[in-house]
Every structure is written in C-alpha cells, then in structure tokens.
Symmetry: C2
Subunit: 200 residues, 2 copies
Amino acid sequence: MTIAQHRDRLDAQLAFVVEIDKLKRVIRRNTLIDGSRRENDAEHSWQLGVWALVMAEHAPEGTDIDRVVRMLLVHDIVEIDAGDTFIYDRVAVEAQEAAERAAADRIFGLLPSDQAGPLRELWDEFEARQTPEARYAKALDRLAPIMANHHNDGGTWALYKVTASQVLANVAIIEEGSPTLGAYAHDLVETSVLRGHLAR
Amino acid sequence: MTIAQHRDRLDAQLAFVVEIDKLKRVIRRNTLIDGSRRENDAEHSWQLGVWALVMAEHAPEGTDIDRVVRMLLVHDIVEIDAGDTFIYDRVAVEAQEAAERAAADRIFGLLPSDQAGPLRELWDEFEARQTPEARYAKALDRLAPIMANHHNDGGTWALYKVTASQVLANVAIIEEGSPTLGAYAHDLVETSVLRGHLAR
Ligand SMILES: [Ca+2]
C-alpha cells in the first residue's frame, strides 16, 4: 500500500479511536480500590488487561493470553451507547442485550470491514463464554468488583442491597474461567459475610 | 502446582494489582478528546493498547503487536511513584529517570521474580526505543497528546507555552515508529499552526 492508501484507512481508524474515547466517561457502580471515586470503563478495561497478564498462570493450560488481553480491551466498548449494566439487576441485564448488539454494529462498524469483523467476533466470543479465553476474561471481569468491594468494607453491596447468594452466582462464573481465582473469590465472599459487609 | 501453591503466588500477584490501581489517580497534562477533564494514566494506557491493535498496519512489517500491547499496558506504571513528566520540560525529564528506575524496581518487584523480570524488561525496552515494538509503542504514546490537543483548539499547548518546533521533535519520534502516523502527526501540527492553536 502507498502512504496515501494507508491514510485512507487511517481516517476510518481515527474515527473509531476518537469515538471510543467516550469510554472514559462511562461510569461503573464500583469504586477504585482506594474508594476515592467511582471507576470508569476505560480504566477498568486497562486494569483487566494487566490482570490477565499477571494472573495468566491461573487460566487453564493453553489459554491464549494475548487473545484474552485483546478481548478485555474491547469488552466494554458497547457501553458507550448502551451504558453500564449493574450485574445484579436481572431485568436490566436482559433488556440490555439488544442495545449492546446495536452498539457493537455501530461502533466496530466505524472501522474498515476487515478490522470490524474480527473485533466484533472477539466481543461476541467474550459474551458467549464458550472458549477458555472468554471464560478467563469473564472471570477477571467478575472478580474486579468483588475485589473493589472487599477493599471498601463491602462498597456497593450494601448500597444496592446485594446478598451473598447473588455474589456467589458470579463466583461460579469466575470458577469456570479459573479454579484458583474462583477459590479466592469464594474466600473473599465468606470473609465479607463474616465481617458483616455482605448480607447472607 | 497444587491450588495451595497457586494461592501463594496469587498473593504476590494480588499485591501488585492492588498497588497499580493507583495509576488511575496519576493525572496527565492533556485532557480527554472531548476536553471535559484531564486524563489519567490508566485510561491513557487502555487507549494506547486499543490504538496499537487498530493501527497495527501502520507499524513496520513484522512488528509483534501483542508485545506492543503488553508494553503499553505497563509503560506508565512507574509514574505511580515518579509522577507524570510533561514531555516539554527537559530538566524534569532528566531528573525523572532515576526516580522511574527506582519505581520500576519497587513496583515490578512486588511480583514473583519470574514475572517481575520480563515485565521490567518490557518497560526497559519501551524506554530504550531500539526495537520496532518499542518504536511503534512510543509513536502512539507521543501521538496521543497531539490528537487530544488538536481536538481542543490547541489544548495544553498554549497553557504551557509549547511551540511547533518542540512538537515537531516529538513528530520525529512518531515517524521513527510509523511513517504513516508521523505524516499524519505532521499534518496535525501544520493545521494547528495555521489555525493559530500552536505558536510557530
Ligand atoms: Ca461491564
């Protein structure tokens, strides 16, 4: 390709990167680990990418960690249009799915089609949770708010009246992606209940 | 390894991930692309990871993009101790180097040593800018504030009295990592000067 042809494709790529800058303004329920403010989706996505690298040995043997990192970097981009869904709000979670698919069509669709397809597939794979990569990525995504709440005397659990059995449903998802991380999350839940930071 | 042995290593890994959560509170000079607030290092690192994926074709043939992504995810972690350095402040940039090396020793050193070494080497490689991966990663890092300022009528350039020749020194670094991105950055600088958003 000539520099001019590269520049044509670059224009579409720039439209995409300018658009996804908005992810820095999508605010999640949980706070930072120090509790100082609520977290945004962009910094959350960074955090999960680093966690994936650093905790790689807790994924099943043979998991493609670089694929996990790519998946995590784009896993929340649909929330630019669809907003963050609180994972303990079942009705919202179901109503959300169509909105997220439309968001994926629109946002990944800003890219040249040979790039939009593979990134969209990464997001679909994450959501479907059928591969070791998606299961490990999802395990990290579910572990993150448990960690944040654990470091903040229960954090958003009390605020949103979340119970241990609801959190344990997420621990089961963590366990599917990583038995070690599942066992760790289970201990955090037990400790939080014992300390009175999470209702039984 | 048994689950108990995994858990011992996990404790060190968790100490690291809890520590680096602080990167979300290291504030950069430039704003988000929409200008609404200043950017933090964590969301900046996420952004560069996605840019690396999406603009991969503008890196030299054979560049290992997954290695670039890993490098970018950890490239600013030293700023937790050393703080952000404004790239146009030469004195600060030089005084900063020892502080950053000490920060790298301390922070990567929280991990099990078989993990600390390779991550530290990734950071050293980024700083040394001798490989195609490091040059492409650094190009994206230098492009990001130019993009943000371009979208904000010059943004922090006027505030910090930055001139076009200073920005062009960074454009040369972008060009080393990616001729296409260098040409694009050069155009942004020209446009900003013509619009009166950047002093000649
Ligand atoms: Ca989410």
